[in-house]
Amino acid sequence: MTAPSLSLNLWAIAVCVIGAAFALIVRERLAPRVLAIACCAAAALTFAGGAICLAAGPSGDVALWTLPVVGSITIGTTTIGSWFACIAAIVYLPTSLFTLRYLERYAESYSLRAFAIWYCALLAGIIGLFICRDVTSFFIDWEVIAIASALLVAFEWRHVRNARAAFVMLGMSEAGTMAALLAMLLARGGTLWFGGPPANLNGPLSWVVFLLAFFGFGVKAGLLPINSWLPRAHPIAPGNVSALLSGVILNMGVYGIVLVNMVLAPSHHPVQGLVVMIVGAASALVGILYATIVDDMKAMLAYSSIENIGIVVTALGTALVFMAVGQPLLAGIGFAAGMYHLVNHSAYKGLLFLGAATVDVKLGTRSMNALGGIIRVLPVTTAFFFIGVFAISAIPPLNGFVSEWLTFQALLRSAELAPLTYRVIFALCGAALALTAALTVTCFVKVFGMSFLGWQRSERPKPAEAPLSMLVSMGLLALACVALGIVPTYVLPVIGRASTAAFGSDVVSGTLVPPFFNPSSPPRPLPPDFVATFHALGAQIGSWLPGRGLVVMLRGGAANPVVFAMSTTYLCLIIGALLLVTYLVVRFVTRTRRAERAKTWTGGMSRLPAEMTYTATGFSNPVRVIFDAVFDPTEVENTRETIHQHFRSAIRRTRQDVFLSERLLSEPLTNVVQSAANLLARMHHGRLSAYVGYALGTLLIVLAIVSL
């Protein structure tokens, strides 16, 4: 009856609902267990459904119910939706496992049952979003997700600050939703169904739809300048919710953008793609700048999420540009880069957030200045966090490297664009992303070095290692990072299947993993020296290895006949071999020598107290000084106390940074609305006679309009 992919998704939603129902009736103590079982099962089912859809093709659309005004509620799996669903499942399963023990910290103060219910509801909404095939169900689901995520973010509702941050999140989300809804209605024209041929919008309507959809969904995705809710929401949310927020919820925004601008109403203007690229690059740069200077681990990861989504959006922007100028193969590179970076980001950001949550639970603080030396107390957590740090810094052979490489390849293809301005903008965005990559390394060296290595900078009790469920969940995500990095040639064809929804055909695999390497498809005739190059690169390792070759490569165009190739698989093998060989050689050469362990040389001081070691703020201060114009901190306090005029007894300095989005958009907007409201408030002076006058005036106007 229904295709297996769709039915699996429906079963997944059912499991979530059952889980929520169970959570309502069981004892407080068992709520986390119900949550873990239900959501792990649901995530697994979703993943299975998504995989089947990507393998076998989309299921047809099924109309569920028909409602009076809005038409029929249609559901069905699509390849692009399934890709996003798989990403969600990759993050949701480990997070649910993590939640099993993580919720213990809330056992006394908050309702675990409520958490479980919202959590299951959120998952149900997410799974539902990817199978919705009409505007009504899409936005109903969207609201479910918005409300459930806001409730989860504000879980620690006893603090006023948390409630306000969640309120801001919800408010901005609603504003974005309105814009997105409007865009979708305009895009679809008469019908509300997603199926059918893509709309061909021209002129100003195309721009209106684009801007509304991009900035509307951009609120959810966390793009500059509409992301002022993100740095407020993350630090206050519980650790596992942060992982979901970054790993799953932000992807919803990207899904919306892809849905409207690539599937439903593909953009035809290259300038729209350029706008996307510029906003993405700016978000990336500003995001990582703020990430580098903050002290709270979770705030840092939140800003880093802004950066990563910025990179995704930049890559999608290049795809839009190439699509608009009629180069679908090049657009495929950008699309693959964006989608790959999305799954990578979900995997490593989820891992990093879970790691930060573990540190928070075990050591009681997230401040990098106060931490230090975690490797000695939580070695396994440190190892997993290290893999996350390595991955996010785009170090080969992990997954971050693959998607960054693809992004830069997409940007370098600007050579094949005709207009100079496009090439200039591509180059500038490329430069911004390069700076971003460098700052990412700085930022994460700081996180890892200052919190996990070195000495403990404040007095803390020594905890035991995290419980097994938390470690396993982090391990799963670490495994995902490694797997996504080492065998990209197996992931890219999956993205290619997802790209059929946007481009009509698989534009990714054709470019990035040449088809003649797929043993199932017949080999195309190619020039022999070309084949020889590929053989020389080791792409083809004989016919006995199943599946694809191990090198990702792309050919330059006619003007640029070079081959760009990269293989993290081989890199992984070579790096491993080099490390092993080096280790063996060193062991052999120094076999007669004795290594001594000695005290650290501290310049002759008998011991170095904790306040004499570098802090995280000190590490990143040079970045702050160089980019001071971006941060523009306000000085809250700068007092110097002296005794007898010359003995300095205290110097107190406090500076506060206001996020750029708030300075650019939120604050001016708030001020405008506030002044308008103040202006209008003059009407409310309390004189009854004037109010009667208002009523009379309104009546006259209405009569006048009616008579016309």
Binding site: E596, A598, K599, W601, T602, G604, M605, S606
Partner: protein, 239 residues
């Protein structure tokens, strides 16, 4: 910038050849020598004149303990006191480990520790890196960390409040290592020690291999000591 480059080139080569033989007073203040006198009177007068008991009257011989001479110049040119003008002052300590292995001969790294020095020994050490003495041509370098040092060069009478740092610097050096005590303060405490705050020389705190007397020893004598430590030169008969 090219100005400095040309400046340096036109200054020419100012490095002087090393010497172990006699040098002028400009290059070295010299040290008193054990002198045999005709009678005990002179020897006793010289011993009485010395403020740090560096001269002992043993019958008719005025025996000089170089490790105690602070170069106050009170015995110079009187009562027949002879003076040595060579610069081969360095001598091994009682439990010296001898010079380093041959692989250090042309590549020696020295960590200088100031354990209470008055400043003159440090200034002579600074002169060694200058054009006239040019320590680098011998393959000897000053290093800022004891982890990469082969030789610990100590100046000063090992003041009490520097002893911890001195010991930790010594322990931070990997094997093989040698310690050279430069100056009379490091050799025996000079006129400062042993006392409340100074030790009787660095050897009371860490094992010392080579001692260079003098107050301060001239750069030639210190270079001679460093060349002994790394094996570039060797003394035929150790004292």
């Amino acid at each position: 910038m090219k100005n400095w480059f040309l400046r340096g080139l036109t200054a020419g080569i100012r490095t002087e050849p090393l010497t172990e033989g006699a040098v002028s007073a400009a290059l070295s203040p010299g040290l008193p020598k054990t002198t045999e006198h005709t009678g005990t009177q002179r020897a006793e007068m010289l011993a009485a004149a010395c403020p740090n008991e560096a001269i002992r009257a043993v019958e008719a011989v005025a025996e000089v303990d170089e490790d105690r001479c602070v170069l106050c110049m009170r015995c110079k040119g009187r009562d027949g006191q002879t003076w040595r003008r060579d610069v081969a002052w360095a001598h091994p300590n009682a439990d010296s480990q001898g010079p380093l292995e041959p692989r250090f001969r042309r590549s020696l790294h020295v960590r200088i520790i100031d354990a209470g020095d008055c400043g003159s020994c440090l200034n002579e050490l600074a002169q060694m890196n200058g054009p006239a003495y040019n320590l680098h041509r011998l393959g000897i370098f000053i290093t800022p960390t004891p982890r990469q040092a082969d030789v610990l060069l100590v100046v000063g009478p090992a003041t009490r409040q520097m002893q911890d740092a001195l010991v930790s610097a010594y322990e931070a050096m990997p094997e093989p290592k040698r310690v050279v005590a430069v100056g009379v303060c490091a050799a025996s405490g000079g006129i400062f020690g042993p006392s409340l705050m100074s030790a009787a020389g660095v050897a009371a705190i860490i094992p010392v291999d080579l001692v260079v007397p003098g107050c301060p020893p001239p750069p030639h004598a210190i270079i001679d000591a460093l060349r002994l430590v790394c094996g570039q030169t060797a003394r035929p008969v150790p004292r």
